[in-house]
Structures are given as C-alpha cells and as structure tokens.
Symmetry: C2
Subunit: 199 residues, 2 copies
C-alpha cells in the first residue's frame, strides 16, 4: 500500500548515511525520474528541466570527480573531513544530476521580453519542484537521498565525462541509496511566525 | 481513499476556471498550508518560506488590488481582457501568497559567506517546492489552482493591506477554488531529449 501525498511529503528527509544495498531495479529508478520530469510544472510549460541519472559505477565516477576537484582547492592537511563527506555520497547507489536548459530560458526571454528577468527565477523554482518530486518519489521506493551543490566546482568535468550539452546548466546533485540509519529529529520553527490567515 | 504520491503529482494541473463553491472547511485549507510549510525542505533547514492565506472576501480584496494596479499600467481601451483574467482569479475562494523572508536569507549569507551567492537561489528553489506541495495538496482536497506572478506590481499594496513585514519578499500568488471545468490536454516534450541514464 502506497502512502498518500501528505504522508509522503512529511516522511521525506535528508539521508547522509546510504549504501549500495538495494532491491529496486534500475528500471524502477528510471521510471521514478521519468514520471517526475514529465509531470513537474514549469513556467509557460517550457519543460526546461534536464536530468542525468548516474547509477552504480557511473555514480562512483561522479563522486571521484567531485573528490579530485575538491582536492585542488582544499588544503591537503585538512582534506580528511572532505574525503569522508564525499565518500558518504559515493557509498550510495545512484546520483540524479539536475540541469536547466538555458537555451529554453533564453528562448522565453526573447519571446516574452516583458518577463525577461523572471524566467531565470521561474526556472530555478521549477527545478526546486522537480528536485522535491524526485526526492520524495525515491523515498517512496525506499531510498534515502540528499541535495548537494558542487555545481561550479564540477560542472566542466561532468559535462565532458557524460557529454552533457553546453546549454544545460548544472543546478544540483542528489546522491541516493539504501538508508543505513534514521535521520535525527528535525527542528521546526513555530508556524505562527511563518503563516498568516485572513478571512 | 487518498491517492498515492505519484498519482497526486500526475493529476495536479493549472485550473483557470474556478468558483467559490466549496464544501471544504477553512480549517482544512489552513491545515493543508500548515503541513506544506512545515515539511517542505529549505537550505540549511532555514525555513525561510512565509505564507499569507487569504480566504473569501480577503481573497476578493487581493484581486481588486491587483486589478486597480493593472488599471494604472494597462491602456484603458485594451483593459477588458485584463479585467476578465483578474475576474477569473477573483471567482475563486482563496489565494495563497508566497513570500521568502529576506532577513533569513541575508542571515545565512553573513554566516556562511562561501555560499553567499547561492542562498537567494536556494530560497527560490525552496519556494518552488512549497508552491508545488500546496498546489498538489489543494488538488487532493478537490481544489483547482494556478500560479500567478504580479509581484512587483502589487507588493507594496499587499504589504500595507495585510500588514506584511518589509523583509518578506513576494514570490507568487496562487488563486484556488472549485474547478469548474477540466483543463485541456497537456503537451509533453519527448523525455528522451530531457533525461539521460548512465549505468
């Protein structure tokens, strides 16, 4: 029995302790991503989101690339915590790379110049929606994931490794795998400071 | 019986033909918004999202404000389509106003200067996630809604009408109500142009 929408939303968490143990097929993971990309809304139905799904050894390669990029900028004598952090992501089974196609965004800017400044913002909002949908749908399949942002550091290497078009802008990375522990309690700010109702 | 997450995601659509007919209580609407604001993730769990929920006559007032703001910038002899558009939103029962608290974003920028340029972007992504969660959860309650962006045009008037703090930045407006017709078919771009899998 699948959970309902609100329960799925409430139960999605960041998982940093993940492993390659999984009984979910690559095909099912692919379907999760396909479904999310298809149905997540975008400004003017522009469908600017692009995704590269890396599984298994391709996932490992992704985090090796990130580690070597970090090695160039983090001092050698303080690299160990960084090394451990990246290994915790590499311990997972797959990574979803989120991109936004800038040629689509620029096309909208040319076509609707009145909203020129808004399209890049709406593109980011739509990417956020997609990240959330994939994250929650992966959790529904029993995966734990988190959202990482090594964008500028790794974008060129990622693009040449997986032959990603130049106009795809890297927005986020979501490593996921079998959750090896439960996340701790989450702290919530009082809702009365965040929501006002007038009726 | 509630739908599962994937079905709810697939069935959320933009509804422009909406009415005030509803058997859903204001309390239930409030709970939908509370739940979404509580559980939607944000960078560093900063919980920067703020919401003003306007129901009934307060909702009407919101679209009257928007209409009068538009009247100042749209030529009188071409105002009728604008008038009709705004009336279609006003025909609904409520509006969710989405804000991001800039004092939270700026606090993060000061605390973590390495990510200074990222926090405003992550704030927009998180707002997108929240918009999606509320939109889909309202659809689960039988409402139809859409996402509107009259931000710059109405922000000052909205803030003085509902006494919204200055540091809350207006991001989007979501009018919702009883759906009076089914949306047309949605056009989907081929997924093979949007998703690549390596394994």
């Amino acid at each position: 029995m699948r959970k309902d929408f609100k329960t799925a939303v409430a139960e999605r968490r960041s998982h940093y302790s993940i492993s390659k143990k999984t009984s979910v097929s690559d095909q099912t993971i692919r379907e999760v991503v396909d479904h999310a990309v298809k149905y997540t809304p975008s400004a003017f139905n522009s469908q600017s989101a692009r995704v590269v799904l890396l599984l298994n050894q391709e996932h490992d390669k992704m985090w090796d690339i990130t580690k070597e990029s970090l090695r160039k900028v983090v001092p050698a004598d303080s690299f160990e915590p960084t090394n451990e952090k990246i290994n915790s992501f590499k311990n997972g089974y797959g990574t979803v790379l989120y991109f936004e196609d800038q040629s689509v965004v620029e096309g909208l800017q040319e076509q609707f110049s009145l909203y020129k400044d808004n399209f890049p913002v709406w593109s980011q909002q739509s990417s956020g929606m997609l990240q959330f949908v994939v994250w929650t749908a992966l959790a529904e399949e029993g995966f734990g994931g988190s959202l990482q942002h090594y964008n500028e550091l790794i974008e060129n290497d990622v693009k040449s490794e997986w032959n990603v078009p130049d106009n795809w802008k890297l927005i986020a990375q979501m490593p996921f795998g079998h959750p090896e522990s439960e996340p701790g309690d989450k702290v919530f700010a009082p809702l009365e400071n965040r929501i006002r109702v007038y009726k």
